[in-house]
């Protein structure tokens, strides 16, 4: 069996599961973000009374943190009331950050668990050897009532990534390469297991970037076998004991794709589809209005560091906004300690509250008609970040910072290897 199948088997009280089967599995942690007040409504509409386990469910206020409108303030208010009434042990208010960063930081993500959240990017937690998957509000309400959810045991695709990319080519470039090949519907209903020498040496942040975007290929979940760096991270934080799960030798993947990233160049997903991926150098000159470093894909310490390394002692182009939104308060504090935020502000960056920022056009830097944004985020659908007449290019933090400097989409690798 694959590790993912073993996790599903364990949580559904069985020795074995088979691809395509529907199983009812226990959820180890359920997380609701602030877009989904419907979860609370559905809970009561279904005659829910008590959350099944007050230690295993939490709200994270990230999409509207802090509330930009009266309507979103009302959403926060009703969610807080629910969390208090239910006496939930964990709660992450507007001072926390993006759910997918906050959950592992709080020790609520660990190998071998099932984490379900009301957010499609819950695939991120494959980075920790956990089964993370997104659901909608009513599915979540059924979990809050019963502690379990039905799953279809997915086919598992292997995406093997070998080699070490050159300096300046980041995990975001690697996952865009994969996305360009598999396409937006390449893994619908399936799981993606990322393997290979590149993945084996990759740190926690890079793993999260790649698993995060697995959902952009339609994947139900993502998986990476935890390495030492992951286990060190988790062992310091996990709130519960855990067991690392391993895929059986000789497991037959439904498909295998192979990528070599030794010679990879910076990648970009051009408007308005995540799989519209090119070598950055093959894209014609694009003038930008806004550059954005942030979100559950590109707002970690490593991303902010990459931007600071490029912008240190320099100034961004006139008429360009550079928005830097750390993924969490912990990331923000670390970035302050290391001096990155000071350097970025000196370069002309606008820093904003940890959270999702303008990624889905909720607040904090949405873009106007005709404007162009280059972003470390994960989606460039029409209107995703504001006006339906705006354009989004997805790229690495290094590319975003280099572009802020020139005012045009810019390759961060100057004159080849640095």
């Amino acid at each position: 069996m694959h590790a993912i199948e073993k996790i599903l088997a364990k949580n559904s009280g069985r020795d074995k599961v088979e691809t395509g089967e529907i199983v009812m599995a226990k959820v180890d942690f359920a997380e609701i973000n602030d877009l989904y007040l419907q979860t609370v409504y559905s809970f009561y509409e279904m005659d829910g009374e008590k959350v099944w386990d007050k230690d295993r469910a939490a709200f994270v206020f990230d999409h509207y943190a802090p509330a930009p409108t009266i309507a979103s303030a009302q959403i926060h208010k009703e969610m807080r009331e629910f969390a208090r009434e239910q006496d939930l042990t964990y709660h992450f208010d507007v001072n926390a950050g993006v759910c997918h960063q906050v959950m592992p930081e709080a020790g609520l993500v660990y190998p071998g668990m099932i984490l379900v959240a009301t957010d499609s990017h819950t695939t991120t937690h494959g980075a920790f050897g956990a089964l993370g998957t997104g659901v909608g509000a009513t599915d979540m309400a059924t979990i809050l009532m019963t502690g379990e959810l039905w799953f279809r045991v997915p086919e598992v695709i292997e995406v093997r990534i070998d080699g070490m990319p050159k300096y300046g080519v980041m995990p975001k470039d690697v996952v865009l390469l994969v996305l360009g090949k598999l396409k937006a519907d390449g893994a619908v209903y399936k799981a993606i297991d990322f393997t290979g020498t590149y993945v084996e040496q990759l740190g926690v942040a890079g793993r999260m970037v790649i698993c995060n975007m697995a959902v952009e290929m339609g994947a139900k979940t993502a998986y990476m076998q935890p390495n030492d760096e992951v286990l060190q991270y988790v062992s310091k934080r996990a709130v519960r004991p855990y067991e690392v799960v391993f895929t059986d030798e000789g497991y037959q993947y439904s498909e295998t794709y192979h990528f070599e990233v030794k010679d990879l160049e910076p990648q970009v997903a051009a408007p308005s589809s995540v799989d519209n991926v090119f070598n950055l150098d093959d894209v014609e000159k694009v003038k930008i209005d806004q550059a954005f470093v942030g979100t559950c894909t590109g707002g970690r310490l490593e991303d902010i560091e990459a931007a600071a390394d490029i912008l240190r002692g320099k100034k961004i182009a006139k008429w360009v906004r550079l928005l830097v939104i750390p993924a969490s308060t912990e990331v923000m504090q670390e970035s302050i300690k290391k001096g990155y935020l000071q350097e970025l502000m000196d370069a002309g960056a606008t820093i904003s509250t940890p959270g999702c920022g303008p990624c889905l056009s909720a607040h904090e830097g949405v873009i106007a008609s005709g404007e162009v944004c280059v972003s470390t985020s994960n989606r460039n659908f029409p209107g995703r970040m504001g006006s339906s007449e705006s354009k989004i290019y997805l790229a690495s933090p290094a590319t975003v910072a280099a572009s802020a400097l020139t005012g045009y989409l810019t390759n961060p690798i100057v004159g080849g290897d640095q």
Partner: protein, 171 residues
């Protein structure tokens, strides 16, 4: 659930994501009718205005990809659609729709075979549809037993209410 449906179609393209079905800037709205009025406004705001109850949404592949927002399914239901046909559906959108009692029927190639305004007759149980104008009959994929049981109950909410009631009786 009514398993036979007749209606005229509106045809959408491939990879219509949830931001196009229901743009992020409207997510703070919680009233279902208001959500329905903004359905597909990321594609064209006129779609919801012109949509008549009983019309059928037809899309290409990977319909509903992107975010997990249940608003997308709520919007389609409250715009007045009682079924969606597509070449394929994205996973979370599929779960959300079935949970809310909206059948999503996969029919490979449908988006290139029908045109806006054409009348179709769908039989979910038989797994086929007829394009009235041409008389062409297409096979549709059948839904799994679990999905059908949710739809037959009118969505997961009545199903859960029943489950809760039984639990209380046992206690």
């Amino acid at each position: 659930m009514e398993t036979k449906k007749t209606g005229k179609v509106i045809v959408l393209g491939n990879n219509i994501d949830t931001d196009q079905i229901y743009p992020g800037r409207f997510l703070e709205i919680t009233n279902p009718q208001e959500i329905g009025k903004r359905c597909l406004s990321g594609v064209n705001p006129e779609i919801a205005e012109k949509f008549q109850k009983g019309d059928i949404v037809v899309a290409g592949s990977n319909f509903g990809c992107g975010s997990s927002r249940e608003h997308a399914a709520i919007a389609i239901i409250n715009m007045g659609a009682s079924v969606v046909l597509a070449d394929s559906f994205a996973r979370i959108f599929f779960r959300n729709s079935i949970n809310l009692g909206l059948p999503l029927i996969t029919c490979k190639g449908i988006s290139s075979k029908v045109k806006d305004g054409q009348l179709i007759e769908l039989d979910i149980e038989a797994g086929e549809l007829t394009i009235k104008e041409t008389g062409e009959v297409l096979k549709t994929e059948k839904l799994g037993d679990y999905a059908m049981s949710i739809l037959e109950a009118g969505g997961i909410k009545p199903l859960m209410r029943e489950k809760m009631r039984k639990l209380k009786e046992v206690k």
